[in-house]
């Protein structure tokens, strides 16, 4: 579908690109152009929403009709009750929650002061640290996965949530530090100066003045690292085996690989995983974009 329906888009897109981006509308856009713009947006929105919507609709059909092309067919919650009663879904959910939650809390906690220090101070080693933070973010999973696997294996931490949390910190810590630097950069420096005038130490300034102001930024950082850990696939697939220890990323694979294709429960599981995440995300996304681009652009 994506290839077919994408074909008409480029033509109308060129038209859109040709027009001034910020020019105020002076009633000059022809009706034809308006139709073209709306058509482009509608097509793009349908492509964006359809796969998600389709899974939602599938989850509400009885398993026998999972692959039916009807939008609604004997709407039922069977898939959900089956999922919750007959599969370890809740265990996987709890595992994911535990691993992602711990990763987030530890990541934010470890990285917070560093984000502040690199945002505010000039000190020997800062350049090197910034480079390290940047480079570790481009580490492919393939570089660390084998040595970490071997280390975890020799320490008996494979198949343990703790092992996965430690592994995820390799992603979360540099990321949180980088992103929080971006948020601290947006807080006026005058506040630090006023803190120093009042006799606060740099750490006191950070703790009493800046941290409370940076709460929204920290919330977004925490949210983002939670989502990253929640959706991680490679480490989770390699390190966790056995139905009881899987996280959601590994668990969902079970529905399509091991037991053949169980599209019904898989759809229900997808909805249960995606809907809460999507709601929070859509709520937080404005700040999120600020954080990502602030951290990246002003690096």
């Amino acid at each position: 579908m994506s290839t077919d329906t994408a074909t008409p888009t480029p033509g109308s897109k060129v038209a859109a690109v040709l027009a001034p981006a910020n020019a105020p509308l002076r009633g000059r856009r022809s009706p034809l152009a308006s139709v073209g713009l709306h058509a482009t947006l509608v097509v793009a929105s349908v492509i964006a929403v359809f796969p998600v919507l389709w899974v939602l609709l599938t989850s509400l059909k009885p398993p026998a009709y999972a692959t039916s092309t009807d939008f609604f067919k004997d709407t039922t919650l069977t898939n959900y009750t089956n999922l919750l009663n007959d599969t370890p879904f809740l265990t996987w959910f709890a595992n994911s929650l535990l691993v992602a939650g711990l990763t987030t809390v530890l990541g934010v906690f470890i990285a917070a002061t560093t984000g502040y220090a690199v945002s505010r101070f000039r000190f020997p080693g800062k350049r090197g640290l910034m480079w390290t933070l940047l480079i570790t973010q481009m580490f492919p999973v393939a570089v660390l996965i084998v040595p970490i696997y071997n280390i975890m294996s020799s320490m008996g931490l494979l198949n343990q949530p703790v092992g996965l949390v430690i592994t995820y910190l390799t992603i979360a810590v540099p990321f949180c530090a980088w992103m929080m630097k971006g948020f601290f950069d947006t807080i006026p420096r005058e506040i630090d100066e006023s803190g120093q005038v009042d006799g606060l130490t740099p750490f006191g300034t950070f703790w009493r003045l800046i941290l409370p102001l940076a709460k929204p930024g920290i919330a977004v950082t925490a949210f983002y690292s939670f989502v990253t850990a929640w959706g991680e696939v490679a480490y989770a697939s390699a390190f966790m085996v056995g139905d009881e220890n899987l996280t959601l990323a590994g668990g969902l694979q079970k529905f399509v690989n091991q037991y053949g294709a169980q599209w019904g429960p898989m759809a229900a599981a997808s909805v249960l995983i995606a809907i809460p995440a999507a709601l929070v995300f859509l709520f937080a996304q404005r700040h999120l974009v600020t954080g990502v681009s602030a951290g990246a652009v002003k690096g």
């Binding site: 994506s2 713009l37 964006a48 020997p124 393939a142 592994t167 929640w230 995300f281 681009s293 652009v297």
Partner: protein
């Protein structure tokens, strides 16, 4: 990078102390003076160092150590059978041997690495360019006054809001050859089923399509932010001077977007190059090895084949890292030549 972020405290301390303590002491033959410099440095910067210490320690322990171990493993013949392991209560010592750069020579002269690299490059370039163009187009439309703009924006961001592995399974469901929605629709129009994920060429197109679908929202939102930061007075001035739409786009929008696009292109190139879940969950690199990118192949070496080949996997991992770092360095240099401070 850090010029404007310096704080009054650091400025008061002066720039002359902004030298590494180790280097300062080492470079100076007069040890006494070196110590003084170090002490002064320490007393000025101790709080900054204390604040960054947790991250430095954590990175050193959980990234630095495994990284060096990985580099070492890539110069050995380590596999599942000769690494340190425990069988029952018996602890088997490691018996693998150092082989120098043999693994690298094998990888770089063999077909497999270069073949996979070729497809990985095609995959990265096509994903990033298509995603960028679609993101740019949509951002430009959304930047205009148009009815229902925030509704469209919300809909278009949705793919970003869904955890990646869930989206990938949704697509796998749509792509299913016998019962998937796409082929059902085609069948309705009397068209033969398309082997979306089972034919090498179609599988390549299909995985790219999914990755583009996943990547457009971020691109669009980032570019929309960039567009909104362009001063609209520039457009008015250009219009006064009689610039047509294309000229305004070419000479105002594109240059104005350059800092944002430079960053998002770099980021999404790195992300796409390393995009594990899409390939792994959609095709497992198949059919055959048609869609295997470097990262999924490295994963396969150590976790899917038997005996697990840790050395080869590490070698590929290190090579991927080197390639990415080279790319980032070259990219940065090119930008700098064009006058961008980044």
């Amino acid at each position: 990078m850090a010029v404007h972020t310096s704080q009054s405290v650091a400025e008061a301390a002066g720039d002359d102390v902004a030298r590494g303590p180790g280097r300062g002491a080492g470079r100076n033959p007069d040890k006494g003076r070196g110590m003084v410099t170090f002490r002064r440095s320490l007393s000025t910067h101790w709080y900054a160092w204390t604040m960054v210490a947790p991250v430095v320690i954590v990175i050193g322990v959980i990234i630095g150590y495994p990284l060096f171990r990985g580099i070492y493993l890539s110069m050995t013949d380590a596999n599942e059978r000769n690494v340190e392991r425990s069988i029952g209560v018996n602890q088997m010592p490691a018996t693998y041997e150092f082989v120098g750069l043999d693994n690298y020579a094998d990888a770089l002269t063999g077909d497999q690495f270069l073949g996979t690299l070729g497809w990985t490059l095609v995959w990265t370039v096509s994903c990033v360019s298509v995603t960028f163009l679609l993101g740019l187009g949509l951002a430009n439309i959304l930047n205009r006054r148009i009815a229902g703009r925030s509704f469209y924006r919300m809909m278009l961001i949705l793919p970003w809001a869904i955890p990646g592995f869930v989206s990938v399974f949704a697509w796998r469901f749509l792509y299913n050859e016998d019962r998937g929605f796409l082929n059902r629709i085609l069948a309705g129009g009397g068209i033969d089923a398309v082997p979306w994920l089972n034919d090498p060429t179609m599988a390549k197109i299909s995985v790219i399509a999914v990755n583009v679908w996943l990547g457009v929202p971020f691109m669009m939102v980032a570019l929309l932010g960039g567009l909104q930061s362009i001063d609209s007075a520039q457009y008015e001035a250009a219009e006064m001077d009689g610039a047509n739409a294309w000229q305004r786009f070419r000479h105002i929008t594109l240059p104005g977007l350059r800092p944002v696009s430079a960053t998002v292109i770099l980021l999404s190139t790195i992300w796409t190059f390393n995009m594990f879940p899409v390939i792994f969950l959609l095709t497992r690199g198949g059919p055959g090895e048609a869609t295997q990118i470097l990262v999924t192949q490295a994963f396969k070496f150590s976790f899917e084949i038997s005996p697990r080949d840790f050395a080869q996997s590490s070698t590929w991992g290190v090579l991927i890292l080197i390639l990415l770092m080279l790319f980032a360095a070259v990219y940065r240099r090119v930008l700098r030549k064009q006058g961008d401070v980044w």
